[in-house]
């Protein structure tokens, strides 16, 4: 339960925000989303995009290709950044694993089975938990604050 000081602090911050909005003519800042709300927002934006509506600024759908050896490759374009984390889901609920991107220039095996679609200049992750024979139902691209910013395609198992 909030203390009296907390309540006074909340009231003061609201009044300050109102005063600033009146003084500058700008609306108060938007509330930061929770991790779950960020997922919901990204899911909605991806849904809009995959039914054919143009993305507002940056696309929330990333292409990906899956190779044997636990490798998933992405095009090296935004929203993929150096501090990107990738959450990989094999069933609903919590991700099976969350991996950072492999360092640039990590050598990859080639000529083996693959699914999905990828680009020429790429960044990869190497899965440690998810096996090649497990279908991946959701790939979540997260930014440095661990907030979901985009989704990849569903990827079939690779043999």
């Amino acid at each position: 339960m909030a203390t009296r000081d907390d309540q006074l602090h909340q009231i003061l911050s609201k009044l300050t925000a109102i005063a600033e909005a009146l003084a500058t003519g700008t609306p108060p800042p938007r509330t930061p989303p929770s991790l779950e709300q960020a997922q919901t927002i990204v899911d909605y934006l991806v849904l809009r995009e995959v039914v054919g509506r143009r993305a507002d600024e940056t696309s929330r759908v990333v292409s990906a290709i899956r190779r044997t050896g636990g490798v998933i490759a992405f095009s090296d374009t935004p929203p993929i950044e150096d501090d990107t984390q990738v959450a990989v889901f094999t069933e609903r609920g919590t991700p099976a694993e969350v991996r950072p991107l492999d360092p640039k220039g990590t050598p990859q095996q080639s000529g083996t089975g693959s699914t999905g679609s990828g680009g020429l200049s790429e960044r990869t992750i190497t899965l440690q938990v998810v096996e090649d024979d497990q279908p991946i139902i959701r790939i979540e691209i997260r930014d440095g604050d661990n907030q979901a910013v985009a989704l990849g395609p569903r990827l079939a198992a690779v043999a």
Binding site: P27, Q37, I41, Y44, L47, V51, S117, Q147, A156
Partner: protein
């Protein structure tokens, strides 16, 4: 889907692709839904996308056994030279899925399909319209072959047969089952088949009609509007109830997914939205057929009105709102259907200013404005003296048992929606 294809080809090139290739591409478009990721992963018990993880594979063409075996009947569409045949499957850059059935319903409510049917008929039987350009001829040929004749054998679009011979009736049946709504205009006398029975699309639907859809949908919009009104309210009484908004979303989800169990209606939805997207695409810009018909304008509704005038048909007076609503409602209902807003915190993203949800809030605001204007439902006002939320929650049941359905004279679905359209 044709609007998505159009974005991957040069301007207006989709109308120059051979209808055989477009027909084959529909088969390929069906399979792209396999790559759609899982949405709403926190929604326990929600049905998977389209009601079944297996419906795409259940109805698609067989895959080649090896990479050396060619796929069966590829579309061969070329992104750079659409009048050529590549011999390969057309590959887009991202996964695509078709719009929600609501898209087809709202576009059909504009009256566009009856207007275009009359255009194609006039070109086929006489010379009462302008002489066509080569591109206009291609549009007429493709439209007639893709949408006004029986579909090719064994295709994903093959939902015409002895058991359901009339696509107009099939569409109305599907709208009725999913939304308990029907287009405001009747089936024109010219297109009624021998033995036509009015309202026959409501027969034999059993328990599978979402009769409470419109009530809950309108209430959802009303509650979200209440959320907008109080979004910046930090000091006064705040009637917004995020859990009630979530409950309404959950009720709508349960209702719609009840119709999708086992992948039901997925194929029909695909056929209907691809059909409507072709006609929507036709009037979305000044396409060759629009120019041939001297119907250039600045928005789809005005183009449709001009074309309709040429062939003596009256489109919906609120067509402009309906065209814009169709995209917005499709995305939102898809999101509701996968359970994105099933809890209070997630439902807040529909109306509170949260970093990143600008597009979602903008979409909701626009849907409310357009729905109120198109249907006459007063979403932004509550009757004087009523509370912000009702005493009792609306029924959360997935579907009401209605038995053999007869036309509910004067019901919301017929009375209010009829006001959207000038057809009798």
């Amino acid at each position: 889907m044709f609007r998505s294809l159009a974005t991957l080809l040069p301007t207006n090139a989709v109308f120059t692709v051979h209808p055989f290739q477009l027909s084959r591409w529909l088969e390929e478009a069906w399979t792209t839904a396999r790559a759609i990721p899982e949405f709403g992963p926190r929604t326990a018990g929600a049905l998977p996308f389209l009601g079944s993880d297996e419906i795409i594979e259940a109805l698609d063409l067989p895959e080649p056994v090896a990479s050396t075996v060619p796929p069966p009947f590829p579309s061969g569409i070329s992104a750079t030279t659409p009048d050529k045949f590549t011999g390969n499957v057309f590959v887009g850059t991202v996964p695509l899925v078709w719009d929600h059935l609501s898209y087809a319903y709202l576009i059909e409510c504009t009256g566009i399909i009856e207007v275009m049917a009359e255009v194609v008929r006039r070109f086929a039987v006489g010379e009462s319209l302008n002489t066509l350009s080569a591109q206009g001829t291609q549009w007429v040929r493709a439209t007639e072959e893709l949408f006004f004749r029986d579909p090719p054998l064994f295709s994903i679009g093959g939902i015409v047969s002895e058991v359901r011979p009339d696509l107009r009736i099939t569409r109305r049946n599907n709208y009725w089952r999913m939304f308990a709504l029907e287009p405001p205009h009747g089936i024109p006398a010219r297109w009624r088949r021998p033995g036509h029975v009015d309202q026959s699309w409501k027969s034999d639907t059993g328990d599978g009609v979402n009769t409470g859809f419109r009530e809950k949908w309108t209430e959802l919009l009303r509650q979200v509007w209440l959320g907008f009104e109080n979004a910046r309210n930090g000091i006064g009484p705040n009637a917004t109830d995020r859990e009630y908004v979530a409950f309404l979303c959950q009720s709508l989800r349960e209702m719609m997914t009840a119709r999708r169990q086992g992948g039901q209606l997925a194929r029909e939805e695909f056929v209907h939205v691809t059909t409507m997207s072709w006609f929507h695409l036709t009037v979305e810009t000044d396409t060759p057929i629009v120019i041939d018909l001297k119907a250039e304008a600045t928005n789809p509704a005005d183009r449709l009105a001009k074309i309709a005038q040429r062939v003596g048909v009256t489109p919906a007076p609120r067509a402009r709102e309906l065209f814009e609503l169709s995209d917005l409602v499709s995305s939102l209902l898809r999101a509701i259907e996968v359970g994105l807003f099933d809890n209070g915190a997630d439902a807040e993203t529909l109306f509170l200013p949260i970093a990143g949800n600008e597009a979602l809030v903008r979409d909701m605001n626009r849907i409310i404005d357009l729905w109120q204007s198109a249907t006459g439902d007063r979403v932004k006002d509550r009757p004087a003296g009523t509370a912000a939320q009702p005493l009792r929650l609306p029924s959360a049941s997935a579907a009401l048992s209605v038995g053999p359905v007869t036309a509910p004279a004067g019901s919301v679905s017929t009375a209010a929606m009829t006001s959207m359209n000038g057809h009798s």
